[in-house]
């Protein structure tokens, strides 16, 4: 939190990033022909995409193109919505997440999620992080686990002296980092971030983005964002979703998926180019 870089103004400012080595390219998710519906309303249609390990994958696109629906399919959060229904497969290390005998609770334990609005529990800072490990039976070395999670979320130094204070006393940006700490305390493999910085000011946003770079070492990250600069700054790969309107109705489709640099500098689809250059959306 000492040095803060303000967001660059132009979407094409793509940060330098290390070339992902071949062994880190192992796919974590293989999404095959995913169509998601709420009732008769098709949210996303026929999405095919692979998400690789220890990379940050950004999902961008205009409002209503199904970005959130897509990311919520990845940890079965959509199960909570009664009218949700899907076709196609989401393979997680080769296992179909929606297959027979797959417990959505177990899926979510391995695939964590951070939401748009910080949603800390009305408990102490310590208990926010410690609650899930305790419930899941990870009681050994709980204090160390909490400390590790808070350090991982770059929050430890700010809260170490007030762990027993209410989490609601933290600022918005701190609350969001607490939510990230809470998510990584149970050591998931994947972290899904659904517009994690959209409710935060630029300074807090910068610290979340910085944090994402360090989280990449240990986790596979998928971030939904409507902020193109953010995708350009943090993501290794970017998936561009758009709204496809045809005679059967409107549905979100995956237009292009590639290295972030390519998406923002040399997109192969006209719609992507229009979007990233600000001519649309």
């Amino acid at each position: 939190m000492t040095q803060v870089t303000m967001p660059p103004m132009r979407p094409v400012d793509v940060a330098e990033r290390r070339e992902a080595s071949p062994e880190t390219r192992e796919p974590v998710f293989e999404i095959r022909g995913l169509t998601a519906r709420y009732g008769t309303n098709v949210a996303i249609k026929d999405v095919n995409l692979e998400i690789s390990r220890n990379l940050i994958t950004a999902v961008i696109g205009p409002s209503g193109c199904g970005k959130s629906t897509f990311i919520r399919c990845l940890n079965r959060m959509n199960d909570e919505i009664g009218s949700f229904d899907h076709d196609g497969q989401i393979l997680y290390h080769g296992i179909d997440l929606y297959g027979d005998g797959v417990d959505p609770v177990e899926v979510r334990r391995r695939i964590g999620m951070v939401f748009q609005k910080p949603n800390p529990f009305p408990k102490t800072i310590y208990d926010n992080v410690a609650w899930a490990p305790r419930v899941l039976g990870l009681k050994q070395g709980l204090d160390e686990r909490v400390e590790r999670a808070l350090k991982g979320a770059a929050l430890w130094d700010e809260v170490k002296d007030r762990l027993k204070r209410s989490a609601l006393s933290l600022s918005g940006g701190q609350q969001q980092r607490l939510c990230i700490a809470r998510a990584i305390a149970i050591e998931p493999e994947v972290l899904l971030l659904d517009e994690p910085a959209s409710a935060l000011d630029p300074i807090a946003t910068a610290s979340i983005e910085e944090l994402m770079h360090s989280l990449k070492e240990d986790y596979t990250l998928v971030i939904v964002t409507h902020n193109m600069q953010q995708a350009a700054r943090v993501a290794d790969r970017t998936a561009f979703f758009s709204l496809d309107v045809d005679e059967s109705g409107r549905a979100g489709v995956l237009v292009e998926y590639d290295e972030t640099t390519k998406i923002f500098t040399a997109p192969s689809d006209k719609r992507t180019e229009d979007y990233v250059t600000g001519r649309f959306g």
């Binding site: 959060m77 609770v105 177990e106 979510r108 939401f115 800390p120 009305p122 609601l168 998510a183």
Partner: protein, 294 residues
């Protein structure tokens, strides 16, 4: 300036004045209504207190019931009896009411939830005399009156109140918190116990205390289930138990003016109990709110 805009006085034309008058009328009507509501409570307390004042003493609270024709005496057995009856009722209604509310707000499919909701609302509107007869037919007829039967009858009064108020506070727990917990790979039931219930605890407590206050004054259900009692301290719930509301009723029917005085004094005790418990509930709620928002 005034030459350019001679009409600008900022005093308003007749329409503005009319609006101001209507506004003032509406405001005073609302204020008077609010004062009237407070006044009713004030008058009730005042009139009861005035008639009861002379009778009320420490002895009145701690002594045994008077025998026929005796002056003095107290209502200790009534207080203990009412306490036990309400205790039994709470022990039944609190877990059932909270679980019902949890089922409705966390687990039930929407249609079933609506049906049960309606049932609870109807139950809340059930005349207490009907509840009394029901408990009588179920537990007293063919057996004897007992505190169990009385507590059971009171629990029917309390159940919908607790269920309803619990449901209201559960609804106040933000959806985002349930989602946050769900995303941690925690099962529904653990989320309810670990996140939802603690947030709602203050509200549940308030609802329960208000239900207790209500049940403590219910008379009809007890007339059927625990009204033929000895006038001594009783703690065995297998027998009918002396209690405040029924004794007030009995005394008020009596020919002895001493008994009337006792009825008023008992009524005051009951009112003070209800007021104190309600106040306590509010304080508890305020405290949990403060704790949650700090």
């Amino acid at each position: 300036m005034s030459a350019v805009q001679p009409a600008l006085t900022m005093r308003g034309d007749s329409r503005v004045r009319r609006r101001r008058i209507v506004n003032r009328l509406a405001e005073s009507a609302a204020t008077i209504a609010a004062l009237a509501a407070v006044a009713v409570l004030g008058i009730v307390i005042f009139s009861v207190a005035k008639r009861a004042g002379g009778e009320l003493s420490w002895g009145f609270l701690t002594e045994d019931l008077p025998t026929f024709g005796q002056t003095g005496g107290g209502i200790a057995p009534l207080i203990v009896g009412s306490g036990i009856l309400v205790g039994i009722a709470t022990a039944i209604a609190l877990p059932l009411g909270v679980l019902t509310a949890l089922f409705l707000s966390e687990f039930a499919p929407r249609r079933l939830s609506a049906a049960i909701q309606l049932t609870i609302d109807l139950m809340n509107g059930l005349p207490s005399v009907i509840i009394g007869i029901f408990a009588f037919g179920l537990l007293v007829y063919g057996h004897t009156q007992s505190a169990y039967a009385g507590g059971f009858a009171l629990s029917i009064v309390m159940l919908p109140l607790i269920a309803r108020s619990t449901q209201e506070v559960l609804r106040l727990v933000p959806r985002s918190q349930r989602e946050g917990a769900l995303a941690l790979g925690v099962s529904r039931w653990r989320i309810v116990v670990g996140i939802v219930l603690p947030s709602a605890l203050g509200g549940i407590l308030t609802g329960t205390v208000l239900a207790i206050a209500r049940a403590a004054g219910e008379t009809a259900p007890l007339l059927f289930t625990t009204s033929i009692f000895v006038n001594q301290l009783t703690t065995d719930p297998r027998h009918a138990m002396p209690n405040i509301p029924v004794q007030i009723f009995i005394w008020s029917e009596s020919a002895d003016p001493e008994d009337h005085k006792r009825a008023w004094a008992s009524a005051l005790v009951l009112i003070v109990f209800v007021l104190l418990t309600s106040l306590l509930a509010r304080l508890a709620l305020a405290r949990t709110r403060r704790k949650l928002s700090r």
